[in-house]
C-alpha cells in the first residue's frame, strides 16, 4: 500500500516536525559552508565567499517554507494555532465564554437527551439478522387474549401452524405470546422466589430472527412440537450476568416456574433483548409449555383463543404487497377451515370483510412507541427551538464581542491578514465554543437520560429496559448538532467582524456604519428568540393545563388512603379452577380487615389502568349491541366499600352469594343506561357471552361509573361479578386504611403471609400513586416542555439583557447629549424600555401565528383543551413582557444614571 506508507511518513514528519526543521536547517548550513569552503580553497576572501555561496543557494527562508509545505501539515498547524489563539481569547472574556457554553450546553444537551429516546424507542433496528425483512401480521397495538371470531391483531397457535405450513411469501414464521409473563420462580434450587419476566415463544422464534446462542443453544421447533413435555428455557445474557453471576456451568441448571421445573439450555447473544422495545424478557420458554407458566394461559390447541403476535421474515424479493395478498388469501382459507361449518351467513360476510394489514417490525414491536412517539416528536421540535434560541444568544454575544474587537481585526488586516484567514480564525473560536457546549451537553444528557427513564417507568422499582446510554449514533448526532450550531451562530458574526471599513475601524474602533447594522442583526435575533420563546411557553402552558385537567378528573372511586398490592397466586402454585382459591381470598380479606387501622379490604381482578377483560353481554329481549363490549371485573364482597364506589340502586355482594346460588352481578350506571334503558335493571337478567352461555346473571345492584383504563376515557360499561361465583386468578388486593402507610403495609403483608407463607407479594403502592402513574406520559411531556419553556425564556432574557447593556454602552454619548439638552432621567429610561417593548411586540406578532398553527398539531395530546387559546397566549405574552422588562430594567437604569460629564467626554 503505497499511500499508507506515505501517510505513515507524513504522520511521522508531523509529530517530529521540530526535529525535521532542525535537520533541514543543519543541511542548509552544511551546504552553504561547503560551497563557501570551495571558494576559500580557490583563494577567495571568506566574507566574499560566504555571500557568493548564499547567493547560489537561494532564499533559505523560502526554501524552508517550501519544504515545510511539502509535508502537507501547514493547514493543521495553522488550525492548531487558531485553536490556541482562540482558547486564549475566549479565556480572556470568561463571562461571555461561560454564558455561551452554558447556553449551548443546555441546548445541545436537551437535543441529545430527547434524540437518545427517539432513537431507542423509534429508530433503532432490532439486533437481529436483516431486521428489514421482518413483518408482523396486524399493527401490534393490542395485547392480551381474545375469543373474537376474526382477530387481525392477535392469533391462535393453530392459526400460526397453518400459516407456517401454507404461506408462500415467508422464509420463516414465528409467534410469541403478546403478553410477557411476570412470574415468581425459583432459580437453581434457591429458597427465595424471585421475579422473572418470562416470554413464551414458538420454537421457530430464534431461528427465524437469526439470533445465535452465546452459550448452549436457543430454542428450536423440536421444543415446540407437542404440548407440555418440553420444559426447557433460554435465558438472556443480562439475566445470566446479574442473577447467575455469569456462571459458566449455567447449562443444565433448573428454573422452577409455577410447579414446573425448566432446564436452562442456552444463553442468548448479549445484544439481543427480545423483539419488543421497552420490554426485556429474562427467560424464553417454548409455547408448548404455555399452560405451565403462570398465569397459565391456555390455548395451544384452541383456534378460538387468540393471544399471539404472528411475525414472518419475507423471502428475498417478495414485496410487502405480495406478502399482504398471500396472507389475506390464507387468512380467509384458514379461518373458514376452522369455523366454516358453524358460521351463519352474517358471520361469513363479516369474515369476508376482514382484512389483515402487515407492518414492518424492523425496529421491533413496542407499546412505548404508541404512547411516546408523538410526544417525542413534539419534544424534539421543542428542543430544536431551544437550541435555536441558544444559538441566537451566542450569535448575539459574538456580534457584540466582534464589534468590540473591531480594532484588533483592523490591525491584523492592515498587517496583511487575509479576510478568509480571519473568518477562519473566528469560526475556529465558534467551533471551540460549540465543542465546549457539546461536551457539557453530553454530560447533561447522560444525567437527563437516567432521570427520564425513571420518569417514564411504570413502577418505582423497575426502570424501563431501554438502552439510552452513550452510543456512536448518539455521539454522531451530537457532533452534527454541535458543528451545525457553530456554523449557525458563528458565520454571521465572523463575516460582520471582518467586513470592515479599515480606516473607520482604525480611527476609533467603532465605525458608525458597522454598529447600526450590527444592531439590526442583533434585534432580528432577539425578535426571533422572543417568537420561539412564545411558542415554547404556550406549548408548555397547554401541556401543564392539560395535565391539571387530567389530574382533576374524578375517577369515580376515592383514590386517597388506599393501599394496593399484588399477590402472585399462580406462581404460588394455584390453578384457575383451584377450589382452594375462594377460601384463600376470603381468609386474606378477613385477616386483613381485622387489622388495626384497616377500614375495608378486597381482592379484585382489576383496579385501574391495568389492562382489561372485555366481553359481550346479551340482555334477553334487547337487540344485540355490536362493538360495545363490557369490561368485566371479578371482585370480593368488600370491593365497593374499599374503593368507595357509591351504590345507586339495589345491593352489593354478600355472604349469601355463593358458588351454588343464583349467579349475580352488579353493573355500572352506563351499563344500566345502555342495556336496560327502561325501568330499574335490578332483578333483571343478562348473559355473559351469547344467549346460550351458561353465565346467566341476575342484576342485584347498580353503582356509579368509574374510570377503568385511563383518566381521559369516556364512560365505559362495566359489570362486576363475585369471585365466589366465578373462579379466577386474582392478583390485585386493595386495603382502605387510616393512619400511617408504612405501618399498615407491614401489617397487611404479615397477615397475608400468615395465610399462605409462599404467596409472593409485589408492587406495594397506593392507589393514588397508581392513578398518577397512568398519566406518566402527560406528566413527562408537561414537565419537560415546562423545563424547555423556562429555559427558552431564561436564555432570551439573557439575550435581551446582553443586547440592551451593549446598546446602552454604545449610546452613552447620545444619551449624554440628550440629557445635556434637558431630557429627564425617566425619559432616558423610557428610551431604552421602549426598544425592549418594541422588540417583544415584534416577536409576539411573529410568534402568535406560529403558535396557533403549532397548537393544532399538539391538539391530540391535550385533554380538555383544543389547542392554543387566548388564555394560554395572553399568559405567555404577559410572562414574556415581564421577563423582558426585568431583563431590560438594569441597562435602562444604568442609562438614566449616566454621569453627564463623563458621557459627553466619552469618545
Amino acid at each position: 500500500m503505497a499511500w499508507t506508507g506515505e501517510l505513515a511518513r507524513r504522520l511521522r514528519m508531523f509529530f517530529q516536525r521540530k526535529r525535521f526543521q532542525e535537520e533541514l536547517e543543519e543541511e542548509i548550513r552544511l551546504h552553504v559552508y561547503l560551497r563557501q569552503q570551495e571558494r576559500v580553497d580557490a583563494n577567495v576572501p571568506v566574507a566574499f565567499a560566504h555571500s557568493a555561496a548564499l547567493r547560489r543557494f537561494g532564499n533559505p527562508t523560502r526554501i524552508k517554507e517550501e519544504s515545510y509545505m511539502s509535508w502537507g501539515w501547514h493547514w493543521l498547524e495553522s488550525f492548531l494555532e487558531d485553536v490556541r489563539y482562540g482558547t486564549r481569547s475566549l479565556w480572556r472574556s470568561k463571562g461571555l465564554t461561560a454564558v455561551a457554553i452554558l447556553s449551548l450546553g443546555f441546548g445541545i444537551g436537551a437535543n441529545t437527551a430527547i434524540f437518545s429516546f427517539l432513537d431507542a424507542v423509534m429508530l433503532r433496528s432490532l439486533p437481529v439478522k436483516d431486521p428489514a425483512q421482518l413483518v408482523l401480521l396486524g399493527k401490534g397495538e393490542v395485547q392480551g387474549i381474545t375469543d373474537s371470531l376474526n382477530p387481525t391483531e392477535l392469533y391462535s397457535y393453530p392459526f400460526y401452524r397453518e400459516m407456517q405450513k401454507q404461506n408462500e411469501v415467508f422464509s420463516g414464521v414465528a409467534t410469541m405470546l403478546s403478553m410477557m409473563n411476570d412470574v415468581h420462580g425459583t432459580v437453581d434450587g434457591r429458597g427465595e422466589t424471585e421475579l422473572m419476566h418470562v416470554q413464551l415463544v414458538s420454537g421457530t422464534y430464534f431461528p427465524m430472527l437469526g439470533v445465535p446462542a452465546y452459550l448452549g443453544r436457543t430454542l428450536t421447533d423440536e421444543d415446540d412440537h407437542s404440548e407440555g413435555n418440553h420444559p426447557v428455557a433460554v435465558v438472556s445474557y443480562k439475566w445470566w450476568q446479574q442473577r447467575l453471576a455469569q456462571d459458566s456451568a449455567v447449562l443444565g441448571k433448573k428454573v422452577k416456574l409455577g410447579d414446573t421445573t425448566f432446564e436452562i439450555v442456552g444463553v442468548t447473544a448479549p445484544e439481543f433483548f427480545g423483539t419488543k422495545v421497552g420490554e426485556a424478557p429474562d427467560v424464553w420458554v417454548p409455547l408448548s409449555m404455555m399452560t405451565s407458566v403462570p398465569p397459565l394461559v391456555q390455548g395451544y390447541k384452541d383456534y378460538s383463543a387468540s393471544s399471539l403476535y404472528l411475525m414472518g421474515r419475507l423471502k428475498p424479493g417478495v414485496t410487502m404487497e405480495q406478502a399482504t395478498g398471500n396472507v389475506n388469501l390464507l387468512y380467509q382459507r384458514i379461518q373458514l377451515g376452522f369455523e366454516g361449518s358453524k358460521l351463519n351467513r352474517k358471520q361469513r360476510v363479516e369474515l369476508e370483510k376482514t382484512y389483515v394489514p402487515l407492518s414492518s417490525i424492523a425496529t421491533g414491536l413496542s407499546s412505548l412507541r404508541g404512547q411516546f412517539s408523538e410526544p417525542l416528536r413534539i419534544l424534539m421540535v421543542l428542543v430544536v427551538l431551544v437550541l435555536l434560541i441558544a444559538c441566537a444568544n451566542v450569535a448575539n454575544l459574538l456580534l457584540a464581542r466582534s464589534t468590540a474587537r473591531a480594532r484588533e481585526f483592523a490591525v491584523r488586516q492592515a498587517l496583511g491578514a487575509r479576510r478568509l484567514r480571519l473568518v477562519r480564525q473566528l469560526l475556529t473560536e465558534s467551533l471551540l465554543l460549540a465543542f465546549g457546549g457539546g461536551a457539557l451537553g453530553i454530560a447533561l444528557a447522560w444525567g437527563a437520560n437516567r432521570l427520564l427513564l425513571r420518569m417514564i417507568s411504570a413502577s418505582a422499582t423497575e426502570t424501563v429496559p431501554l438502552d439510552v446510554s452513550l452510543n456512536p449514533r448518539m455521539l454522531l448526532f451530537t457532533f452534527g448538532v454541535t458543528v451545525f450550531t457553530a456554523i449557525f451562530f458563528g458565520t454571521l458574526p465572523a463575516l460582520r467582524a471582518t467586513g470592515l471599513e479599515l480606516t473607520d475601524a482604525l480611527k476609533d474602533g467603532r465605525g458608525t456604519s458597522s454598529t447600526t447594522s450590527t444592531g439590526i442583526i442583533s434585534k432580528i435575533l432577539i425578535v426571533m428568540q422572543v417568537a420561539f420563546s412564545l411558542v415554547l411557553l404556550v406549548g408548555s402552558g397547554l401541556f401543564l393545563r392539560s395535565l391539571i385537567h387530567l389530574a382533576d378528573v374524578d375517577p369515580g372511586f376515592n383514590k386517597e388512603d388506599v393501599l394496593r398490592l399484588q399477590t402472585d397466586v399462580s406462581s404460588a402454585g394455584y390453578k384457575v379452577d383451584d377450589p382452594r382459591l375462594t377460601a384463600l381470598y376470603q381468609q386474606v380479606e378477613e385477616r386483613v380487615s381485622g387489622l388495626h387501622g384497616v377500614v375495608a379490604a378486597s381482592y379484585s381482578s382489576f383496579t385501574f389502568h391495568e389492562g382489561s377483560w372485555n366481553g359481550s353481554i346479551t340482555v334477553p329481549g334487547m337487540p344485540e349491541v355490536k362493538d360495545q363490549n363490557v369490561r368485566h371485573n371479578v371482585i370480593g364482597n368488600g370491593y365497593f366499600k374499599t374503593m368507595q364506589i357509591p351504590l345507586v340502586a339495589g345491593r352489593t355482594f354478600g355472604p349469601q352469594d355463593t358458588a351454588t346460588s343464583q349467579k349475580v352481578a352488579v353493573i355500572s350506571e352506563s351499563t344500566a343506561r345502555t342495556r336496560f334503558p327502561a325501568g330499574s335493571p335490578v332483578g333483571r337478567h343478562y348473559h355473559i357471552g351469547g344467549m346460550g352461555s351458561p353465565w346467566d346473571m341476575e342484576v342485584i345492584g347498580v353503582v356509579k361509573d368509574v374510570k377503568y383504563g385511563s383518566l381521559d376515557e369516556k364512560p365505559v360499561q362495566i359489570d362486576y361479578v363475585s369471585y365466589a361465583q366465578r373462579e379466577h386468578l386474582l392478583n390485585d388486593f386493595e386495603v382502605r386504611y387510616t393512619g400511617d402507610f408504612g405501618v399498615v403495609s407491614t401489617a397487611v403483608q404479615q397477615a397475608i403471609h400468615s395465610v399462605d407463607r409462599t404467596l409472593p407479594i409485589t408492587r406495594v403502592t397506593t392507589l393514588d400513586e397508581q392513578v398518577s402513574r397512568s398519566i406518566t406520559q402527560q406528566k413527562t411531556v408537561a414537565q419537560l416542555s415546562t423545563c424547555f419553556g423556562l429555559l427558552a425564556v431564561f436564555l432570551s432574557s439573557v439575550g435581551i439583557y446582553g443586547l440592551m447593556s451593549y446598546a446602552v454602552s454604545l449610546r452613552t454619548n447620545e444619551i449624554g447629549i440628550r440629557m445635556a439638552l434637558g431630557a429627564a432621567r425617566s425619559n432616558v429610561r423610557w428610551l431604552v424600555m421602549r426598544e425592549i417593548v418594541l422588540l417583544v411586540t415584534f416577536g409576539v406578532a411573529l410568534g402568535v401565528p406560529v403558535t396557533l398553527a403549532g397548537g393544532r398539531l399538539i391538539a391530540n395530546l391535550l385533554f380538555g383543551l383544543k389547542g392554543a387559546d387566548a388564555t394560554s397566549i395572553l399568559t405567555a405574552v404577559g410572562m414574556l413582557l415581564v421577563v423582558a422588562v426585568v431583563a431590560g430594567f438594569l441597562p435602562a437604569r444604568r442609562a438614566s444614571s449616566i454621569d453627564l460629564m463623563r458621557a459627553l467626554r466619552y469618545e
Binding site: 507524513r10 543541511e27 559552508y33 523560502r62 502537507g72
Partner: protein, 109 residues
Amino acid sequence: MSRDEIPPGTLYLLILKTLALGGELHGFEIASAIQRGSEDVLRVEEGSLYPALQRMLIKGWVVAEWGTTAGNRRARYYKLTADGRKQLEVEMSQFERVMGAIRRVIQMA
C-alpha cells in the same frame, strides 16, 4: 560563462539519476554532481534541491540517514529505494517521450 536553468519538472529525474549512479550522497554532493555531470551547463538553484528531496522522502523514493563527511561534519545522506528506481524508469521514459515529441516538432521545419 552562462549557465542554463534546468527545464521544469526534470529536477526529480536529475536527482534520481544522480543517486542511481552515485549511491549515497548528501545534498551538496548531489548539487555538485548534477553540475559536474552536465559539464557545468546545467545549474540547479541549489536551495530548491531540498524541498524536492523532502517531497521524495515523503513519496518513499529515497531514504535518508545521517553520517559524517570527509571533513568530519554531520550530513544527511540520501539513497534510492526500490520505489525510487522504479520512479527513475518512469521519469526517464516520460522525459524521452516529451523530448522526442519536442524534437519532432522543431525538426518539422
